[in-house]
């Protein structure tokens, strides 16, 4: 087991694929605590037993049951084989999470390790939401002390855009998290935090930086930056923040978080851009200032 601290959240985490995840979490390890904010254990099982309890909800292939002790469990059961490829047990506040995966079973094209990565990340995001923070699907970077996040649907080029900043400014740019930085309000300032859940690139650093702006990236021929209307900002944010179908409370927390971003005037922009340094200049001029010298 490792004890890690991510965005101020302490997690006692027991991995299934120990070799891989011990390395991945290594920058976040702290001394053991017997009172963490949450505990996550992943087990690779020869067979995942179907949970027995009162069915709370069934949404498409997913079933959610409540066990006799109040613990919830979400799982999928194959209608053809009766096989249960995974079961995730969690308390309503996500303080205790147990992820069971059928050993060596490739489910929907993903391996045990990939499912472990996804579900540990989702469960952490849910716990963080209940603690007042969130995880934003985006590439988060810091130019000096200015945290900027670039969000978009996969394949739009947000990571590529951040790599252009790194190419241009070198060590003045830190890639805080290339896929899912955490965001929290501390006092009256929002910060972005590195987390170990950064997608395949594993680009993340255990730091926090003041959040200066949020950009939603769209491909375009011209490089333009414009402030989003409130409704556009909410629409885009709500699509890239946690809002799982199995727990409306997390979605409600996400809406509250968006309200806080609005209250504290965190600017939300639309960046239409090509893959070029001109796009970096457009953002730089808007967020950092116009006195840029190459």
């Amino acid at each position: 087991m490792q004890t890690i601290c991510v965005a101020g959240v302490t997690v006692n985490i027991t991995s299934g694929d120990k070799e891989y995840f011990h390395r991945r979490y290594s920058d976040y390890v702290i001394e053991y605590t017997d009172s963490p904010d949450m505990s996550i254990e992943t087990r690779y099982c020869e067979k995942v037993e179907e949970p027995q309890g009162e069915e709370v909800e069934r949404i498409r292939a997913s079933r959610i049951v409540r066990l006799y002790d109040g613990t919830l469990c979400r799982y999928i059961k194959s209608s053809k084989t009766g096989k249960v490829p995974f079961a995730i047990y969690f308390t309503e506040d996500y303080t205790n999470v147990l992820i069971e995966l059928e050993k060596d079973f490739v489910f929907q094209g993903l391996s045990n390790r990939e499912w472990e990565y996804l579900y540990t990340g989702f469960m952490f995001a849910n716990r963080l939401s209940l603690l007042g923070g969130t995880v934003l699907h985006s590439s988060g970077m810091a130019y000096k002390d200015n945290g900027i996040v670039f969000s978009a649907d996969p394949g739009t080029g947000k990571s590529t855009h951040v790599s252009l900043w790194k190419e241009r400014f070198g060590n003045d740019v830190a890639i805080v998290n290339d896929d899912k930085p955490a965001v929290r309000l501390i006092g009256e300032q929002f910060y972005i935090f590195g987390t170990p859940w950064s997608g395949k690139t594993e680009l993340n650093i255990n730091i926090k930086k003041p959040l200066k702006a949020i950009f939603f990236v769209e491909r375009g021929e011209e490089n333009t930056v414009e402030k989003m209307s409130v409704s556009d900002a909410v629409l885009n944010l709500s699509r890239q923040l946690p809002n799982p179908f199995y727990d409306k409370n997390i979605g409600i927390r996400t809406v509250k978080f968006i309200e806080k971003l609005y209250k504290y005037n965190v600017p939300v922009y639309r960046l239409k851009c090509s893959i070029s340094q001109d796009a970096v200049t457009a953002v730089y001029n808007e967020v950092i200032g116009e006195n840029y010298e190459n």
Binding site: S229, S231, V234, S238, F245, E259, Y262
Partner: protein, 88 residues
């Protein structure tokens, strides 16, 4: 009729938006923006109400006649029904 569970209304400045949460996100990943009258009717429909209830509330709140209120209410309710936001 009433608004289904799983839609959260939020007032941000002068804008009023409604965001789906939980199971509602399975079928609807968009956003609803409400004008003042829309927000008023939405609030009414947070509880089980009839079209007549809405018309009565609209004529009491706004300086409009019952015929206009009924048409406004019908138009809005029709949109809500088509989008699947209402339940009996």
């Amino acid at each position: 009729m009433r608004i289904k569970d799983g839609f959260i209304k939020s007032n941000l400045g002068e804008e009023c938006v409604v965001v789906p949460v939980g199971a509602q996100t399975v079928d609807f990943r968009g956003l609803i923006t409400l004008n003042e009258t829309g927000e008023f009717i939405w609030e009414i429909l947070s509880e089980d109400k009839s079209l007549d209830d809405i018309v009565t509330a609209l004529t009491a709140e706004y300086d409009i006649d019952a015929q206009t209120a009924r048409k406004d209410a019908q138009d809005f309710v029709k949109i809500l029904e088509e989008k699947g936001f209402l339940e009996d």
